[in-house]
């Protein structure tokens, strides 16, 4: 079988005027990998994708496709296909013409074009829509046309820019599964941009977390969730993300809000400026612990998120138990000492 495309991104920096959009990004994407760029808006993930497509120039750095430097290559010569967030379907062309456009530009023969378009449209189940115009299609159907246009040319690399963000919640879940299957059957290196952690976690082999123009951490979904490398990543990953509370070590004891959490004498004897991270479901309410006040309760159906005020800071507690709490009630909070993460407040790094 054909060996897939390996991407190496080396020291990429991108600026718009004086504003730095991307700072020194380094990344290797393995052949046939499904790689997700995850981050909030403005974090640089889409810019990185567009750089891979050749749609953005860079100020510094290099990109290699299978060890070949393609930093200066035009988008057309990179043999990539992209699904845009807006789908970017040609509005004046029928679905058939849209899907066949890349083949036509590539000089593929007419009878082959028909065959390829048929295959691609069957794959995403839109073969009954070939004569329609994009304007006559629903959002989900348009999204499939964009996918068909991307897969029809059998490119070396798929770039997907938030392809599910314009679909309604139910369709998004269905399409997510289909995307995963599509990647399995095509087995092509795929880069997927999303701000939705759940999408990134379920789809990707590996995730790159982008924050403020920097690639903060790269790893499998489990690695990123279980082992966030920094405060920034910890504060972003998880739904809701980890609670972060100021802490210090006094005489080998970890103390948060004046309460002893656990003995920590092995690494430091005394240390200030620490942050404890704890996931919302590793908190429990009980007789003893840090004093808190119930601020707001969010019902999620099978579980609820209890927003607590601890020293003017909001701490989220997620629980499946049916608690009879009322907003404004005083409670005591304890943190599961085995589930805490410790960060250095100054460097932001995990300890």
């Amino acid at each position: 079988m054909d060996k897939g495309l390996k991407i190496e991104i080396k020291n990429i920096t991108k600026k718009y005027g004086k504003v730095t959009i991307l700072e020194d990004v380094n990344l290797t994407i393995e052949p046939n990998e499904f790689f997700a760029f995850l981050g909030p808006s403005g974090s640089g993930k889409t810019t990185t994708l567009r750089i891979l497509a050749g749609l953005e120039e860079i100020n510094n750095g290099q990109i290699f496709f299978n060890s070949k430097d393609i930093t200066q290559s035009s988008p057309g010569s990179r043999d990539v296909a992209m699904v845009f967030q807006s789908y970017a379907l040609y509005p004046h062309m029928s679905v058939f013409e849209n899907i066949s456009f890349p083949l036509k530009m590539d000089g593929v023969k007419k009878n082959q074009i028909n065959e390829f378009v048929k295959q691609a449209s069957q794959r995403v189940k839109i073969e009954h829509l070939l004569n329609r115009k994009p304007g006559q299609l629903s959002g989900g159907q348009q999204q499939r046309v964009a996918l068909a246009r991307a897969i029809v040319r059998k490119p070396k690399l798929f770039l997907l820019d938030e392809p599910l963000s314009n679909l309604d919640a139910k369709l998004r879940l269905e399409t997510r599964v289909e995307l995963k299957n599509l990647h399995k059957s095509l087995n092509v290196t795929t880069v997927y941009v999303t701000h939705d952690q759940e999408e990134a976690m379920t789809l990707a082999n590996r995730i790159g977390v982008f924050l403020k123009g920097k690639l903060m951490q790269v790893g499998t979904p489990k690695e990123i969730f279980d082992n966030p490398a920094s405060l920034d990543v910890a504060g972003f990953i998880g739904n809701p993300p980890m609670n972060l509370l100021d802490a210090e070590i006094v005489d080998g004891k970890l103390v948060v809000e004046g309460k002893l959490i656990k003995n920590y004498s092995t690494i430091f004897k005394n240390k200030k400026d620490l942050v404890v991270g704890i996931r919302p479901n590793d908190i429990s309410l009980g007789e003893d612990g840090i004093e808190a006040k119930v601020y707001l309760i969010e019902q999620l159906g099978d579980s609820s998120i209890i927003n607590l005020h601890i020293n003017k800071k909001i701490v989220k507690h997620k629980t499946g138990e049916n608690l009879t709490l009322e907003e404004g009630e005083d409670v005591k909070v304890s943190l599961n000492p085995d589930k805490i993460y410790l960060f250095d407040k100054i460097t932001g790094l995990k300890i």
């Binding site: 497509a53 050749g54 749609l55 035009s74 988008p75 057309g76 010569s77 990539v80 296909a81 992209m82 845009f84 807006s86 970017a88 040609y90 509005p91 004046h92 062309m93 456009f101 890349p102 530009m105 590539d106 246009r149 040319r153």
Partner: protein, 288 residues
């Protein structure tokens, strides 16, 4: 209390009366005149003549010559305006800053009265020896030309004058249309390996087609009714070299005072204008 409907009727009645008096009535009178012999030079011949004027018109060599000239004038000015306007719009679109300067400059010829444009070209631009164009052709070694007094050159000159005045209109409409095209389509096309000229023919042109059709409709109507600029520049001359149908109808009616035949020519112009407009509008409807 007056009902909304009757109040509305009161409001629009004056304008309907004015329209009837100023538009509908003159057109009906024109059509009536076209079936009459009305000739101030031979008033004793006046009276209803049926289709005599029309039969005469189709046998009139000057009519056919003016008709052909009108078609040439309309087609070439519209095509030139479109091509030059599109070229300029594509060019200005690439200018990152101060596009407004070009928009402002483009408005200037449009706001001039056509008669001023005609006079200005006749004196400042095209006058032999003194005109700017003549100065230019002499400078590059082509020599001096009788721009408005040599028949073939005169036709080219009046076409250029009209094109000069109205290309900015096409330019502004096309610039607005081009500026509204979504950039992601072009990015998609780049990734789909479409080179620049294919992006233009497969994406830009089809997407701005509505604007192009509107320009053709409006500009054809105006070119068919063109009068003042040509009159000011050449008076239809030399001889009848630049005498389009409007000028021929004017000459027949007001210089030869043959109002009956002049009306027939005017009715004919009205008919082609309506026909051309009808055809273009039906094309537009079909496409959209």
């Amino acid at each position: 209390m007056m009902s909304e409907k009757s109040f509305a009727t009161y409001l629009i009645t004056p304008s309907i009366i004015v329209l009837l008096l100023t538009t509908t009535f003159p057109i009906l009178y024109l059509i009536w005149s076209s079936f009459q012999n009305i000739n101030l030079a031979m008033p004793w011949m006046d009276g209803f003549v049926g289709f005599k004027n029309y039969i005469e018109m189709f046998q009139d060599k000057q009519f056919w010559k003016s008709f052909r000239l009108t078609i040439t004038y309309t087609a070439s000015t519209v095509i030139l305006q479109l091509i030059i306007g599109l070229g300029l719009a594509l060019l200005v679109l690439k200018i990152p800053k101060a596009q407004w300067v070009f928009r402002l400059m483009a408005i200037l010829p449009i706001v001039l009265a056509p008669v001023v444009v005609g006079l200005f070209w006749r004196t400042l631009m095209l006058a032999p020896d003194f005109g700017i164009i003549d100065f230019f052709t002499k400078t590059i070694g082509l020599g001096s030309f009788a721009w408005l007094s040599e028949p073939r050159l005169a036709v080219i000159s009046v076409i250029l004058i009209h094109t000069w005045q109205w290309t900015p209109f096409a330019f502004l409409v096309l610039l607005a249309s081009l500026a509204s095209l979504p950039t992601d389509l072009y990015e998609a096309a780049k990734i789909d390996k479409a080179p620049a000229y294919k992006r233009f023919f497969y994406i830009t042109l089809p997407l701005i087609r509505p604007a192009i059709i509107i320009i053709i409709i409006i500009r054809s109507m105006v070119a068919l009714s063109a009068y003042a600029a040509i009159y000011a520049a050449t008076r239809g001359g030399p001889g009848t070299a630049t005498e389009i149908l409007n000028l021929y109808a004017y000459r027949t009616s007001f210089l030869e005072v043959n109002f009956g035949y002049g009306s027939t020519l005017a009715v004919f112009i009205l008919l082609i204008t309506i026909t051309v407009a009808g055809i273009l509008y039906s094309i537009r409807k079909k496409r959209s």
